[in-house]
């Protein structure tokens, strides 16, 4: 009997092995490699003949983490919270509306709403930057001119640039959120609502006492993944406001754009790797602090 138990475990691992092996190669290996490089002096001057230098890169990195870094960290936390709240609320409202009985064009609306997904991110960001926000030619300012308002430099001030970035990020992220929340809503048994209605519960009560608790475990993993990717967001902020040769004057940095300007551009791989690992550890701590872990449906 004991033997058979072991066999069972082995079989479980055998089934999972190909997938885990791929994850090991493509996701875990780079992390280990980055960890290893972070202990060396691999840089332009020691590209192939790098040597082990212990924790020096970490010491350097922590020394450089000054006010600018703290400011970027604060901004990243605010950015993550604002983005996540907006994404969840807007996606929830839209998904709920899409599920109203009798909405015949639902599939058409959904296909159109998730169109932003169908283009590489950098293309969309470019379209927003030059097509929408440009102060000379952008659509927004052409519309402003029509209502008799002068040109606005949308990406220049910190505040307005922050909201522009948030808007673009929302636009990019909604398709995924709408899809998963919409899917989760389908899974709720209609009978719950029927009995709640009989009990006289209004829409708000139904939402908070039935819908939200029911979909929470289902969308959990996707939300955790989205929190991580939002925290690490680079493209939106960098391409909209910080690209070299196209800076807009807004002084907004997420932790990643800050690390990029203060570490990655040095071509010092040891140092940049240490910075990456520090961010990795911080992000894991952050997720532990807010006790963010996907609920196990079947334990």
């Amino acid at each position: 009997m004991k033997e058979s138990k072991r066999q069972q475990i082995l079989r479980c691992y055998a089934w999972a092995a190909p997938s885990l092996l791929l994850i090991l190669m493509i996701v875990i290996f780079p992390i280990l490699y980055t960890g290893y490089i972070s202990l060396t002096n691999m840089n332009v001057y020691h590209w192939t003949n790098y040597t082990f230098i212990g924790l020096k890169n970490y010491a350097d990195a922590l020394l450089v983490f000054d006010n600018g870094f703290l400011k970027a960290l604060g901004m990243t936390v605010v950015w993550t919270i604002v983005s996540m709240v907006l994404q969840l609320v807007v996606a929830f409202v839209l998904a709920s509306l899409l599920n109203i009985k009798g909405l015949k064009l639902k599939n058409l609306y959904k296909t159109l709403l998730i169109f932003p997904w169908a283009m590489p991110g950098y293309v969309s960001i470019l379209l927003w930057k030059t097509g929408m926000f440009n102060s000379q030619f952008g659509l927004l300012n052409q519309w402003m001119a029509k209502i008799g308002h002068g040109p606005v430099r949308w990406l220049n001030g910190d505040m307005s640039a922050f909201w522009c970035c948030t808007l673009v990020n929302l636009w990019l992220a909604l398709p995924f959120m709408i899809t998963i929340i919409d899917g989760a809503l389908q899974s709720i048994d209609r009978s719950f609502y029927e009995s709640a209605v009989l009990d006289g519960a209004n829409w708000l009560e139904r939402t908070f006492y039935i819908t939200v608790p029911m979909i929470k475990p289902i969308i959990g993993p996707s939300v955790v993944i989205t929190v991580f990717t939002t925290f690490k967001q680079f493209d939106v902020v960098y391409l909209l406001t910080q690209q070299v040769g196209a800076k807009t004057g807004a002084d907004i940095h997420t932790i990643m754009t800050y690390a990029y300007e203060n570490a990655f551009i040095t071509n010092n791989y040891g140092y940049s790797s240490a910075v990456s690992i520090i961010i990795f550890v911080m992000l894991i701590l952050f997720s532990v602090v807010i006790n963010m872990k996907p609920k196990e449906v079947r334990d």
């Binding site: 092995a17 190909p18 092996l21 192939t48 350097d60 220049n156 196209a246 800076k247």
Partner: protein, 405 residues
């Protein structure tokens, strides 16, 4: 059972794939000494001329010109890997220091004797020299040019000094029209003003030099011009303003000229205005475009590499490039030819080159672009105090350069 078989098959196929491709699949071009792969990032007109010239080596040597996106990043990754790296690449001279330090470049003089390089303009050879070795065979160079739209600015109205330019801007900037626009907060463009004041962004030993009085004066002086320009510094806005006739004059690269001519603009090029404060003209950066040889190729394909270089040394190539895309020849003797003498744009670049400053080719320059970009943005777009911004930029530059090592 079926499932287990399938997953097993998957695993096996992945594994065999791993091993199989390990043996056979690597690019055959890499090992064949008569095939030379050249990466580049140039416009089609330039690539066509080069390809046509290099085809004359057929069937002796086959040259494959490959346009590579993200060329500089790819090179860092593959530079040491003979299976994936190109044999040569064509790019501006400013990355030489990085790759030379990484040890992936071979000096040109290992293949072509130094005396034969005397035919090139001194500036271009200086630009190609890093720590005493010449790493680039120059082909052509480019500088920014002062351009104007003759519809608005008559030839005799072209400002010869910056104060005249400022006056022109004041008179002609209103209601969405601009007297003059440039990418005011983009380092490559703003450097012309800093150089014109005698400022040096990075000195020849690789030290940042942003807190000098020259840089501060330049930024202070430049600011009043920026106030009469649009709030955007990126090229799409600035170039569209000029090419759509909403800006009368600009400072831009020679690549602008074909585009605006296509739009039917009567475009003129003029010498850079002289800065009243210093008496020297705006001195833009000069970028030398040329071919670099990777170390692996220099060792294993010496003869083929030499043949390719010799084709590219033919002044005829440079003349053709000048005609095709307004490239200014690096070979001094080309300027005796009528075709070149009659080329207004090329001759204007040659004239500008007298004051132009070759971009630094040191590795430290990589971080200076970002630091200077931040500094310009702070001063020009966020209205921060010049002296303080300069100080903090200098501190950032020093710390970044420190952390490169």
């Amino acid at each position: 059972m079926k499932k287990r078989v399938i997953s097993l098959l998957m695993a096996v196929s992945v594994m065999t794939g791993l091993t199989l491709s390990g043996c056979g699949n690597t690019s055959s071009a890499a090992s064949d000494p008569s095939t030379i792969v050249i990466w580049h990032d140039k416009e089609d007109a330039v690539a066509e001329v080069l390809q046509e010239q290099l085809n004359t080596l057929n069937p002796d040597v086959q040259v494959v010109l490959e346009k590579k996106s993200d060329l500089t990043e790819s090179l860092k990754m593959v530079g040491n890997d003979p299976n994936s790296a190109p044999d040569m690449y064509i790019f501006a001279h400013d990355k030489i220091g990085v790759y030379a330090e990484m040890g992936i470049l071979s000096p040109i003089t290992d293949i072509i004797p130094q005396e034969e390089l005397d035919v090139y303009m001194d500036e271009t050879i200086d630009a190609a020299t890093y720590k005493g070795e010449i790493y680039q065979l120059p082909i052509y160079y480019e500088t920014l040019l002062f351009m104007y739209n003759r519809l608005y600015m008559k030839d005799d109205e072209v400002p010869t000094t910056t104060e005249e330019l400022y006056q022109y801007m004041q008179e002609n900037t209103a209601g969405g029209h601009y007297g003059f626009v440039e990418q005011h907060s983009t380092p490559y463009y703003a450097a012309g003003w800093i150089n014109g004041f005698g400022g040096q962004i990075l000195d020849s030993d690789g030290n940042a030099n942003l807190d000098s009085t020259e840089v501060i004066d330049a930024l202070n002086y430049h600011k009043k011009f920026v106030e009469l320009m649009p709030g955007e510094t990126e090229y799409a806005t600035v170039n569209t303003l000029f090419s759509s006739g909403m800006a009368h004059a600009t400072i831009a690269g020679p690549w602008m000229i074909p585009t605006v001519k296509e739009n039917g603009m009567d475009v003129g090029v003029a010498a850079m205005p002289t800065i009243d404060e210093t008496g020297t003209p705006i001195a833009p950066y000069m970028g030398v475009q040329g071919v670099q040889v990777l170390r692996n190729a220099a060792e294993k394909k010496h003869d083929s590499v030499e043949k390719v270089l010799r084709v590219l040394m033919d002044p005829e190539v440079e003349v053709k490039l000048a005609a095709a895309s307004g490239c200014a020849p690096a070979n001094e003797s080309c300027y005796d030819l009528d075709e070149i003498k009659n080329d207004e744009v090329v001759m204007m670049m040659k004239q500008t080159a007298d004051h132009a400053v070759p971009m630094s080719n040191r590795p430290e320059m990589d971080v200076m672009w970002t630091v200077l970009g931040n500094l310009l943005t702070d001063v020009n777009m966020s209205d921060k105090d010049v002296t303080e911004s300069v100080k903090s930029a200098q501190a950032q530059a020093e710390s970044l350069i420190e952390s490169m090592r």
